[in-house]
Every structure is written in C-alpha cells, then in structure tokens.
Symmetry: C2
Subunit: 342 residues, 2 copies
C-alpha cells in the first residue's frame, strides 16, 4: 500500500488536530473540521489504511486515532510546512541578545530561559564542553594568609576560580613565577591532554614550592576530573511540562522530575549530537522516561567549531514546526553572540 495525496492530507489533519487538542480524532470530526471533499466513510477507510501503515493508532477500539511515533516522523519529514519564527519572537530574541553579557555561563542560562518561554516547552542547553576546551592561562591572586585564589582561563572563554592552600606565604613574584611555568607548559593543550602528560613535568620543574605546587596540581586534577564528567545541562521551563495533559498523572511527573535531576540522563537527550538540527521522536529516545517525549536539538558553534547544543523537550504531541523554527533561530543567534564576543 502506498501513501497518496489524500492519505497525506488526512494524516496531516490528524497530526495537526491532535497537536492542538490532545484528543483522539475520529473520521466524522475530520470530515467536519477539515474540508477534504469526501465523506466520513471514505476517511474511515483511509484511516484503516493509515493504521495498517503504522502511522496512526487507536488508544482502544472505538475511539478516535492518534498519530504514532512513525506518524509524527512522517509528518516532520514529509508533511510539515517549513515555518519561520514570528517577527515578535525574532524581536524578543534579538533584543535579549544585544544585552551586554560577557560571561558564557550567563549567556547559556539566558538562552535556556528564553527558549522555554518562547516555546512553552522545557529547554535543554549544553554549555561549552569543558573537556574539549583547551587551557588558556592561569593566575594566582593573594587571598588569606596561606591561601591563594587560582584563576583559570580557558580558551573557550570560561573563567573559573578556586581557592587553594599553599601552606607558606609566597611573595607575589614567586606566585607569578610559578604561574608562569604552568602557563608556558600548558597553554593550548586540551585539559584532557594536560592531565595525562604535563603535570608530572611541571612538578619536576617547580620542586621548590612544594606545597603550592602540590595543591595546585591537586586542584587541577580535580577540575580535570570534573571536566570529564560534568558538563552541566541547563534546564529551563520544567514547569511547562506540568501544563501538558500527558503529565496529568503524578507518577509520571515524579519520574520525569527525577530524571531532570540527573545530568547524565539529560545529556543523552542531546546526544544524537550531529552537526545541525535533530528531531528525536518518542520511542527514538533511548531513555524509557522519555518514550512519550520528543526532543528538538541543534548544535552551536564558536569560530566554526561545534562546542555545545541546545534543545527543547516536550510531549511527542508538540508543535514541531514552531519548535524547530525557534531552536534553529536560537542556535544561529547563539553562534553569532559567542563568535562576536571573543
């Protein structure tokens, strides 16, 4: 059996109506709402075919039909009119992005909030991957007696600071000298590489200021460990999920919010992480908690290099056209901001 033009029209009608109402839709209602020029009986026959093709399904005998995952997939791939974001939305994004924000973490959390507000979905933003970033520079600053602030600047623009014990009191010159050695050896290396080979070398060169070096190295190791594991995902608009009728069940809400607290699981959602825009529908998700959800994600770049991803999460019954348009625009905008910024 093949898809013909009429089947496509009917499938589109079903998907659109279900996205709008969240109610299974029957042949009679389609005939009434959409002007397809055929009777409900004809539509009924076509719907039986669509069900055989696996594109729609019945929650139970004698109810209307709802799109299956495959149905949504067909809709997204073949039926959807490409949508652009509204002028109003574009304006909001542009107004927000001209704000003078320098810190990348702020840009990220900003993006996350904006995305969830515009889509009424839950937003996911994966910041610049620390593991992938290269070491830029470090500085020591005096803090308390016996302690210094270690500031680490990475080449992707992030700045971190940590306080470390040094035991003795070193002069500003001595600190600068130590930092100089680190900087000379490490600049431009990815933090992964730093970890593996250089720390030992540096250790040898600076054997005099034992305590400072020890603790700096400890801290670096810690940061590096962090970096490999923890690329925090920024979530926004998690409450929007509660407005979706598919989460009227408290058990589901609980399971969902539980997963929201697990960074690792969230990362998997943004995972299929190829260049450009991805749509993952329902069961295509690897996590069972998200079988009923879809994710629209896209990567963003700095200086031509892909460094992170943003996405929105919602029920499979989401407005794909609108969500895709917004995510797409958002990544472009983000790429632009971050590129200009450096």
């Amino acid at each position: 059996m093949q898809m013909d033009e009429r089947k496509r029209k009917i499938l589109r009608a079903i998907v659109q109506d279900y996205i709008a109402t969240a109610e299974p839709i029957g042949s009679r209602t389609i005939a009434r709402k959409f002007d397809l020029g055929v009777s409900s009986a004809t539509i009924r026959n076509e719907m039986a075919d669509l069900e055989d093709l696996g594109l729609i399904e019945q929650p139970h005998t004698s109810s209307g039909r709802v799109p299956s995952d495959a149905g949504y997939r067909y809709f997204v791939d073949c039926l959807m009119d490409p949508q652009t974001i509204s002028d109003e939305q574009r304006e909001i994004i542009e107004r927000e992005s001209t704000k003078r924000i320098h810190e990348i973490q702020e840009v990220i959390s900003h993006t996350s909030r904006l995305l969830s507000e515009l889509t009424n979905l839950t937003s996911l933003v994966l910041g610049p991957q620390k593991g992938k970033s290269t070491f830029g520079k470090m500085h020591f600053l005096p803090y308390q007696p016996g302690q210094v602030i270690l500031v680490i600047v990475k080449e992707n623009g992030t700045v971190e600071n940590h306080i470390i014990d040094i035991g003795e009191n070193l002069t500003a010159e001595e600190l600068q000298q130590v930092a100089g050695v680190f900087n000379q050896k490490m600049r431009g290396y990815s933090l992964g590489q730093v970890k593996r080979s250089l720390l030992h070398e540096i250790y040898n060169e600076l054997s005099r200021q034992r305590r400072l070096i020890d603790n700096t190295l400890d801290m670096l190791r810690e940061i590096l460990d962090d970096n490999e594991q923890e690329d925090r995902i920024y979530l926004g608009g998690t409450l929007n999920m509660l407005n979706q009728p598919e989460f009227r069940d408290l058990g589901k809400v609980k399971a969902l919010f539980k997963v929201f607290e697990e960074n690792e699981s969230l990362k998997k959602l943004l995972q299929p992480y190829q260049e450009g825009l991805n749509v993952t529908i329902g069961g295509e998700n690897t996590l069972k908690e998200f079988k009923g959800c879809s994710v629209i994600s896209a990567t963003y770049k700095v200086n031509g290099l892909t460094i992170g991803a943003v996405g929105v999460l919602g029920p499979t019954r989401m407005d794909y056209g609108k969500a895709i348009a917004i995510v797409d625009f958002m990544t472009r905008s983000l790429t632009e901001i971050l590129t200009k910024r450096r």
Copy 2:
C-alpha cells in the same frame, strides 16, 4: 477549660499518629494503638474538649481528628521530647564536612543537599548575604585584547569574576595601578556603602584611563544592584514534596513548584530570621501557598556574626523532633566549618 495530663497524652498520640500515617485518627483507634488505660468513649469526650480548645479539628463530621496549627504549636512547644540526631546521621554530616571544600558556594549547596537527604524534606539554604558583606580586594587579569577579567574578593570569602571591556590595551602595571586605587579606597566598606559614596571619588582620581574605569564602575554598580536584590536561596530535595500525600493534587504541585522558582518568596520563608532556631507552623507562614507547610529554620554564623540561614520545608504534618535536631546540628556544623575555613 484546662489542659490536663490526660489531654496532653491524647494530643500527643493524635499528633504522633497523624505524622506517621497522614490519616485522621479516631477515638477507637487511639484506644487500640495507645495504651492510655481508658475507653474510647472517654477519649471521645476528651477529644471534643481538645477540639473546643482549637488544638485538633475534623476534616468533616464523622471522620477522625487531625491536629490544627495550634495543635502542632502546642506539641512543639510543650509535648515534644527533645530529640538528638542519630549517630548514623551525625557520622554522615561529619564525614561530609571534613571534605576539603574551599568555596563557600560549594559548602552551601552541599549543605542543602545533605539536609534534604537526611530529613526527606525540602531544604532551604541562604548563603552569606552579599549585601551585608564588605569589599575586600579586586584584581585585574589580562584576558582578550581590549578585555580584562575583574576578580572581586569579598571579606566574607566569596570570589566573583566578571569580564569587562577596556577599549584600549593597558599594561599590567597600569592595570595594577588602577586596581590599587580601587582597593585603597574601598577595602572594608560594605558593598552598599561603596555604592553610595565612593565610586564618584574614585572616578575623579582615575580620570586618565577613562574606558577601563567607566566599565569597571558600570560592572561594580551592576554587581551592587545584584547584591541588594539577589541573595539566592539554595533549594534541595524539592522532589521530596511529591512524596507527601498532601501533594497528591497536581494543582498544588504546580503552585508549589512555581513558588520554588521565585527567590523572593523563598526568602520570606526563612525570614522570621531571628538568631537561633525558629519553627513556623502552617498558617503562621505569610505566603498562602505554604499555609499547609511548616518551616524549621536556624541561622549560622561566621566569627560570631550571623550571616545566613538554613531550613527545611515540609507539610505541617512533619516529624518536628527529627527535623529540629538535624537543622540544629547542621547549623552548628556549618558555623564550625565556615569559621575554621577562614
């Protein structure tokens, strides 16, 4: 009518049972479960008295009784056995607090997590109040051409960094000189005071490096504005609320989580913010969303100075004894960590 020993015993029984089961309890059940040496009819009479005293109430005619806010209050003030935390819990807290953590933000978020895990309630932690903290020192560090990193160290130990544009490229010496002026003028002033008087003075003294000064001052003003408004509250274990039978209703969950996103409202919960430990029960809360909740809060100190507060939030039907013991121990432990740390 007066409270006598038997009434007290019965009230205690009602509170304890209701805390454990979340079900209204009737006279017969009390007679069966608790060995008070009198029949259910007698208990029934006493319960009528307790209701007249406003200490217990009936959800509806012919159901068991539940404690009223006043009942919990009486229980907390007069009936509760002072409880200490279990050895196991003490050990967990002590083990966690010996971890070498230097940054205060980390200590705070750590505390928050620990607190919610130990109590199975939602934890609230208010970090050192920025507005109250005094300026310690600032540093400029080179970043990109035309930009520097501004590192601000406050005397309460927090470290912040911000990137600012300077337009021209200044040498390390020049930067240091500018920072020197700021440091000399501002050290020891509360950030509130800095805002009001000193910025102008500094501006005059440093009129040469216009761009750098302008942007630093802008940034400082921004930080100061932030400081007055935003003392972020750390929340932990918000999901624990979902396990409480009083939040089986999705509407309530929505309202609750909405408030969780509003920092200002949360602050009000920790507000009655006198020295030491406070118990706020049900309607004593000012926010209507929390009429059914109680808050146990306590302040913590650094060097004898009260700088923040921690608390737990749960349904009025919570285990007050346990919660109070844990919050109390936690603030002591926190005070100790933070004092040692400096």
